[in-house]
Amino acid sequence: MIENRPGLNLLAHLVLILGIAVVALPVWVAFVASTHSATDFMSGTVPMWPGPHLVENYSRMLDAGVSTSGTPPVGRMMLNSLIMALSIAIGKIAISILSAFAIVYFRFPFRGLAFWCIFITLMLPVEVRIVPTFQVVAGLGLLNSYAGLSIPLIASATATFLFRQVFLTMPDELVEAARIDGAGPMKFFRDILLPLSRTNMAALFVILFIYGWNQYLWPLLITTDAQYYTIVAGIKRMADAVDGLPQWHLVMATAVLAMLPPVAVVIAMQKLFVKGLVETEK
């Protein structure tokens, strides 16, 4: 309780409702725009209430798209995004849980060096050295491929760091009990460590899925074949209009479709999401 001031509580609710309105505004506007037809935008301002063209606009985008924007149908781009996001999430979890296991549970020569090689990448986003990374990936012949879309983004130490933290907080006694129970390293990894990291993996998965789905610059650069465009990277191409008006209703429908999967994931798995967020950052 501490004090009796109902006024303050009211103010708090007010602030929150206002906050939610501000946060929701752009998405509302986008959604509304996506339910109108092209002619509704000629008049000057965006309508504020939904129109009747929702089904029409969305189904058109999903299976036909706007061919003159150089993008394939949105359905195809969403599939690409999905493949990319899943590959990144699963790949990253797989390789980093192994390396974290090695770093935490073994002592071997050059362990420190290996550790630093990995951790130096912790905060080095791909954007920073975009040109040479592009060249390296191009040199490997990975342009226009799912491998090229995902593998370079798999390498980053965040997940390794997280698993390292998780393993470090696992009680020492667990390994000791397992050793007394006759389990070797891989058996321990499979029987104990992996099952115990399940929720961490799930939480990380949520975060990485969002991370992968939301990639922009990288897919923009390394895909020149429209069959590999992802939705987030493709949307910008649709928004650019030549000698005409952007197809606002279609662009916004695409924007809504691009937001839908990650937002749904966040809302449906809020607990895991928060856990993942907090863990990956700390």
Partner: protein, 335 residues
Amino acid sequence: MASITLNNLGKVYPGGARAVGNVNLDIADGEFIVLVGPSGCGKSTLLRMVAGLESITDGEVRIGDRVVNQIEPADRDIAMVFQNYALYPHMSVRQNLAYGLKNRRTPKAEIDRRVNIAAEILQIGSFLDRKPRALSGGQRQRVAMGRAIVREPAAFLFDEPLSNLDAKLRVAMRLEIKELQKRLRTTSIYVTHDQLEAMTLADRLVVLNGGRVEQIGTPLEVYRRPASAFVASFIGSPAMNLIDSRAVPHLPGTAHAGMIGIRPEDLSVEAEGPILMDVLAVEELGAQRLVHGQTGGEKLTIALPSDSELSDTLRLSFDRKSLHLFDRETGARIA
């Protein structure tokens, strides 16, 4: 079942810190040994060297007649109960019990048999299919015991297995462990920092301090003839009064000792007693009361029946035989 022998056992951690030095101990088959001492004195280190979880830097450990220094924990034929139980949180109680046996390729039927026996002994049969998190502290403790029992090892090793329980449960579980060990007669080494637990459980106590053995003996031996001032103050509650002999120059026959020890219950109020104490505080414990006071600048505590008379100063007397004398420098017992 086996005897365990520690020969000149010592441990220096990689950093160079010596945690344990020169420990010699013969543990008979079926004996219940308790290692007791203050935090950081090396109890766990010692136990873990026996378990094989910590490498041995000096001396040797024998289990039965094998030197086990180089043998993997899994092959030492020991079982261990940890302070935090270290139950596998994702496995059911049954799987927890069976895991060690499964890894040793024990046949399924044999595993079931042993698990059921252990479950019966410990009365955990009704929650064999629960996960550890669905158990109370005491139940978890039992499962941890069960995991040790099913293995039918040569020795049990316990590292403060009760310290995560609340006071009441601790008392109850301590009785259970004692009974269980009596029944199974498995050689046991038990680590605790709680002197009461040590006293009540041990066949023999090993009092450690700073990585060295201060005294080995039965609980009563240790209580009655503490080998050092350290043991004297560590074992027994309320703790033994330790006073500088110079504070009581009028006490005959103590001048050669640096420190005089006397247990609070060995002091009695008597009109003609040689010690005059100013009373500072009185604590009622119910059955008795503790009177805290001061004499010649030294603090003193006495335990009195709860119906005894009190006043601001008390004259105290004692039996010469109940005095313990220690060397001022070394702390070693003199008489």
